[in-house]
Amino acid sequence: MDLKQRIKACLEQTAELANCQLLQPVTDDTVLLQSGLDSLGFAMLVAQLDEELGFDPFSEMEIAVYPRTFAEFVQMYQQYQQKHTGV
């Protein structure tokens, strides 16, 4: 499974655990905070991805940057994955 799919699966799973109802299927253009996932759900997603992938971009940034859409979110993880694994 590629990174994007993994993140998407994790997002759907987290939404269920966080008791958040996703409004529509998640696409690249989905605005994260309008997806139905609230800040608690979002925090859980980032924590879960940290466990699965072994890194958390938000805690590594020197200046906090918050992606707006799902595509931007995935892109950020792709950048940090390269940094961590060189892949």
Partner: protein, 415 residues
């Protein structure tokens, strides 16, 4: 500071309050209108003089008018978080000053009423020549300590208050932008949430305050970059102890030199257990005497790490977990978990979160022979029914035994 809020209100012909409406329309009240409405309310309610009143906070303009009318007029005011929370039926000894009762958030169980005086609540209110130009955004609930501080700061310094205390973060950002808010106070978690909206840096902020949670460096850097014109400060406050100070150098934690030199009327020290102790020039309340040492320092029960030039906050010694500004007592969550059949032991602790400060995790020990999958399902269901969402562990781990300290108590540290 005059004895009553109404007398202290600036006599100016300026907008005091803006409440944004549904479709971009907003309603506004001037200082004069609020003062006149408060006097009219006193005239309508002569029987309430020296009585105890409950103030409902569902409408901000009515809330402000009632605060103005009843402070210095009634013997006590209960600021009702919700209509369903009844003020306790307890006599109040009439004094010279009106007592302001604020409810604690109730995360420890039943909400408690704590009394304050106007003088105490307005101790940190600052008024400068530029105050009249400030437009304060209200992000907190006005009946809680932090929200009331913003309300009083704005009213007493002749600024304009803009209500953004409810709604989704996108809507709130829009309200702040429409009203051209230039002074804003929020918890670090709330700031992180607002920063998701790319329009946020368009706010013409000149005053930016963070409080209520530990503040981290990346967030301070980001806010500094977004709002280079703003005076950035983060506040440490122990409301129960009535002490606090603000840090304005843009760095997390506070300068180590405070430990040697003190800061304003405060003296600082850190003990071997990493607890921060504070002493102030005026005596602490009688109820806090048990927590003072022989030199008159108070144990804040906040854990700190001291480096060569800085002191950083780590969290609460009691293990209280702070999820986006909401305090969670691990023992309370453990009790709920232990109510489920099949759970023999439970340990709840905080894990640091780059988004909300901390999140809740739980370790469970099953009773022998239990079907752990089925029990976990029951645990999740029971949490949904008995806990707030922020109190609910986001992850459960089955273990053979829970980690105990040498005292035999559960440890709260992350494994």
């Amino acid at each position: 500071m005059p004895d009553c809020l109404l007398d202290a209100l600036p006599k100016i012909d300026q907008t005091a309050l803006i409440i944004p409406g549904q479709s971009g329309q907003s309603a506004a009240w001037s200082y004069q209108q609020l003062a006149e409405a408060a006097l009219a309310l006193r005239a309508q309610q002569p029987d309430l003089q020296n009585k105890v009143v409950a103030i409902n906070c569902s409408q901000l303009q009515q809330f402000l008018i009632e605060l103005l009318a009843f402070d210095g007029y009634c013997s006590a005011m209960y600021l009702q978080p919700a209509p369903e929370l009844a003020a306790p039926d307890r006599p109040v000894t009439p004094g010279q000053q009106t007592l302001w009762y604020l409810a604690t958030s109730g995360t420890t169980g039943t909400p408690k009423w704590i009394s304050h005086s106007l003088a105490e609540l307005t101790k940190t209110v600052k008024s400068t020549a530029a105050s009249g130009q400030l437009r304060w955004g209200l992000l907190y609930q006005p009946f809680r300590f932090a929200g009331l501080q913003v309300v009083l700061q704005s009213l007493l310094s002749g600024s304009c208050l803009v209500d953004a205390s409810t709604g989704e973060s996108e809507q709130r950002v829009q309200q702040l932008l429409n009203a051209r808010v230039n002074a804003l106070s929020g918890t670090p978690s709330l700031w992180r949430q607002l920063l998701f909206w790319p329009e946020l840096p368009n706010l013409p902020l000149t005053q930016l305050t963070l409080g209520g949670e530990i503040c981290d460096q990346p967030l301070l850097n980001q806010l500094q970059q977004c709002f280079p014109q703003a005076r950035l400060r983060h506040i440490y406050a122990s409301t129960e102890a009535g002490v606090g100070f603000s840090v304005t150098d843009g760095q997390a934690g506070f300068p180590r030199k405070y430990l040697d030199e003190g800061f304003k009327d405060l003296q600082f020290k850190v003990d071997d257990n990493q607890h921060l102790w504070l002493k102030r020039s005026t005596p602490f309340a009688a109820t806090l005497q048990a927590r003072l040492d022989s030199a008159g320092f108070l144990d804040t029960e906040d854990l700190v790490r001291v480096t060569s030039d800085r002191v950083y906050f780590l969290g609460r010694a009691s293990g209280v977990i702070n999820v986006g500004g909401n305090k969670v007592h691990p023992e309370q969550v453990e009790q709920r978990l232990l109510e489920v059949d099949g759970v023999a032991q439970a340990r709840v602790y905080g894990k640091s979160s780059s988004i909300l400060g901390q999140l809740i995790l739980a370790e469970l020990v099953p009773v022998p022979g239990a079907d752990t999958d089925a029990v976990l399902q029951q645990v999740r269901l029971h949490c949904q029914q008995t806990l707030e969402r922020y109190q609910t562990p986001y992850k459960f781990k089955w273990v053979n035994e829970t980690k105990l300290a040498e005292t035999g108590k559960l440890t709260r540290s992350t494994p």
